[in-house]
Amino acid sequence: MNSQKTLCIVLLVLSTIAIIACLVINFEAWIVYTVAIFGIPLWVLSLGLLTMAKPLPEDAEERVKEPFTGY
């Protein structure tokens, strides 16, 4: 498991726990705002980094060398 995948799993778990904690417990408003502002984008990004498809090993080098492809 590479470091990016490990980091994404950790961030996904942390942001999920933080969001659920704010749903269950009524914290002060500034705590909830902080969790929402950082937690929601982090949750979406870390989930996306885990769900995204990776290039095939034989294509990987070509993909990163070809910088101006657009989508």
């Binding site: 704010c22 990004l45 990776k54």
Partner: protein
């Protein structure tokens, strides 16, 4: 209701409604140009589809910045949802959100290492001209209502009537911002097709999906703020009709207008902004505005 639940519901509504409205925008543009156009749900499907697409990070990018800027884009529009629909807080924070959005456009282009992105990054500085009419519109709202707080502005309008009738030229300035932020806008110099997709060109796959997520929320927040501060207290149906009407108008304008060159775009925005600014001042001093 629990505050976090309220925020989550509003973010999901903003994403879904914003995506469908942007899909409607594309459909309207297509129909005006006598094309069938994609289905209205296509924008939403694209956003979700990109999360599962193959994504690679080019060697030329600044990796942390390249991913981080997309995170910041989502972060500022979550702030927009909190300040607007959730907390009814200060307009100044929303002005700050738009200012940071400009920084995101700038840095997203520069982090990619692509010449298209870098040119878009330079144009993002020019397109900051949009923020001047926005700031002027907010100042006039403050002068009339005596507050920057969205909740208090709604209360003012329920007592004195919608601000669109009091300061229509300020509303026009704000509407120009909406046109500028709409897809394929004549003022969208950072996403001119000569630059492929501008600052978004090198953000593909998951990162493009994440940008679509943020831009859908941005479109919803923009329309929500406009309707709230100029059309007074509205219910859900009122917001829905208002958003569809504005999307229809911007779609029609964008379908029939070419993208302007950067200097023409900036001069047009500043000229319209100046006319509306001095027009509103004239209305205030001649007593047209109570």
């Amino acid at each position: 209701m629990n505050l976090m639940a309220n925020i989550l519901i509003n973010v999901i509504i903003a994403f879904l409604a914003g995506s469908l409205l942007l899909g409607l925008h594309r459909k309207i543009m297509a129909r005006v140009q006598k094309r069938p156009g994609p289905p209205i749900v296509q924008n939403l499907i694209h956003s979700l589809k990109f999360f599962f697409k193959e994504t690679a990070i080019p060697k030329t990018v600044s990796k942390v910045f390249y991913i981080g800027i997309v995170f910041i884009l989502a972060l500022i529009w979550i702030v927009g949802v909190i300040v607007g629909p959730v907390a009814h807080d200060s307009l100044l924070i929303l002005f700050g959100v738009y200012a940071v959005y400009k920084i995101v456009e700038h840095n997203s282009g520069s982090s990619s290492g692509s010449p298209y992105g870098k040119l878009s990054c330079v144009r993002a500085v020019l397109s900051a001209a949009t923020e001047l009419p926005l700031f002027a519109a907010i100042v006039f709202v403050y002068l009339i209502t005596g507050t920057m707080n969205i909740g208090e502005i709604i209360t003012y309008q329920s007592a004195h009537g919608p601000l669109i009738f009091t300061i229509p030229l300020a509303a026009l300035m704000f509407f120009m911002l909406i046109i500028t932020k709409s897809p394929y806008s004549p003022f969208a110099i950072t996403k001119d097709k000569a630059l492929i997709s501008g600052f978004e060109t090198e953000h593909f796959g998951l990162l493009r999906g994440f940008m679509h997520f943020s831009e859908a929320i941005a479109w919803y927040v923009l329309l929500w703020v406009f309707l709230t501060i100029f059309f007074g207290p509205l219910n859900a149906v009122g917001y829905l009709i208002g958003m569809i009407v504005i999307t229809f108008i911007t779609g029609f304008i964008n379908a029939t207008t070419p993208i302007l060159s950067p200097n023409h775009s900036v001069m047009t925005q500043i000229t319209i902004g100046a006319i509306c600014f001095f027009g509103t001042i004239l209305m205030i001093f001649t007593g047209v505005v109570a």
